[in-house]
Amino acid sequence: MGNRRIEVIVGLFMIAGLAAILFLALQVSGLSPKSASDRYTLYANFNDAGGLAPRGRVSMAGVTIGTIESVTLNKETFQARVALAIESDVDNIPTDSAAVIRTSGLLGDQYVDISVGGDMESLKPGDTFYSTQSAMNLERLISNFASGR
């Protein structure tokens, strides 16, 4: 076997490795060329953020339109402040829209759903949702029901 042939085969091997990494990046982890730069941030304050976590889903009418960037505690109001990274082509969310925490399925992950309002003006980058609805807490619900309140 000539030296040349070995070099070509090793070159193909390396290309196969690079192609595999590319596949893992694009197809498996869903890393798309449009990155964080074409997103803008909105904020929402919740009394109870429940099980929200960074990288979670933000959806509108069931369609994913962004991800949760961070969940922090606002020390003055003792509320959870959630930063939402929204895709920039969804730039017409009405200002009176509400951010609602929902659960996918009965026991699934929690995500933020944006229920659309009717205002003519839309939220600008850095704005905060005026109305929010906190996570449904199954235990609290059951205990309220059991104590008849």
Binding site: V10, F13, M14, G17, L24, A25, Q27, V28, G30, R55
Partner: protein, 259 residues
């Protein structure tokens, strides 16, 4: 008293072996690589270590992905959530099975061959004759093999992972009828490129380095007889496997553990 002395002797031997392997590694890495003569040697070793291991890696990856899909489907369909199968397969392969199983196969397929080759060179005094000719055997023989293992292992691991995910799709989507949009969609929403893919890649880089180091060291340090070579080859496979599994726990705890 004799038994205690034997224990002490063994302990000293182990420590001395660690010391020798460290000095050996330093000697290999500190030799300045010569691009013109070194590169063809490296390419040749990449062929033997990497390309020839491709067959076993691809076949194992395919079957492991298929088995994961089959097992996962049986369990997940009890909860009606068989669409999470893509997520399960991808995370298992990318984080754990890809790097670990590839490293174990690599130790068995390529590591043992490296040890036997270098050991036989030592037994037939090729290494000492090289030294007589003024050629540094560490640079000429050992360094290309070490680097080849170091480079080939991550490449093999990503190929293993991709083939495994494809095999999982073959069983899950084509055979068991999971909706393929759910297969890829759940996968994409749960696998993060930096957290999962790059950490998995980092794991395989570490494993490749450890496996190649153990293999060339055992060959270089073996007793130059046929029995010595055979015991060195066995040691390579055993030590590499133990080191990979032990390091995997440590790396997983550091990368994915919450503390």
């Amino acid at each position: 008293m004799d038994k205690i002395a034997a224990l002490g002797r063994q302990g000293l031997a182990v420590i001395a072996s660690f010391g020798r392997s460290g000095r050996f590694l330093f000697g290999v890495l500190s030799g300045v690589p010569r691009p013109i003569t070194g590169f063809p040697l490296l390419v040749q070793q990449l062929y033997f270590v990497g390309v020839l291991s491709l067959a076993i890696v691809v076949v194992s990856g395919l079957f492991i992905g298929m088995v994961l899909a089959l097992q996962g489907y049986t369990i997940l369909s009890d909860f009606g959530s068989e669409s999470a199968i893509g997520q399960m397969i991808a995370l298992t392969l990318v984080r754990e099975l890809g790097p670990v199983v590839t490293a174990l196969l690599f130790a068995g397929r390529a590591g043992s061959a490296l040890t036997a080759e270098i050991g036989l060179m030592k037994a037939t005094e090729q290494l000492s004759s090289m030294e007589m000719m003024g050629v540094d055997p560490l640079r000429r023989v050992v360094a290309p093999r070490l680097w080849a293992g170091f480079i080939a292992m991550p490449v093999l691991a990503v190929i293993f992972t991709v083939v495994g995910i494809w095999g999982g799709m073959l069983v899950g989507v084509e055979w068991l009828g999971v909706f393929d949009g759910a297969y890829w969609g759940n996968m994409q929403s749960s696998v993060d490129f930096v957290d999962d893919v790059l950490n998995g890649l980092l794991k395989s880089v570490v494993f490749g380095f450890v496996c190649a180091w153990i293999a060339v060291y055992q060959g270089y340090d073996c007793i130059p007889t046929s029995a010595g070579i055979s015991s060195a080859t066995t040691k390579t496979v055993v030590y590499s496997s133990l080191a990979v599994l032990g390091l995997d726990f440590v790396l997983t705890a550091v990368m994915f553990g919450d503390f």
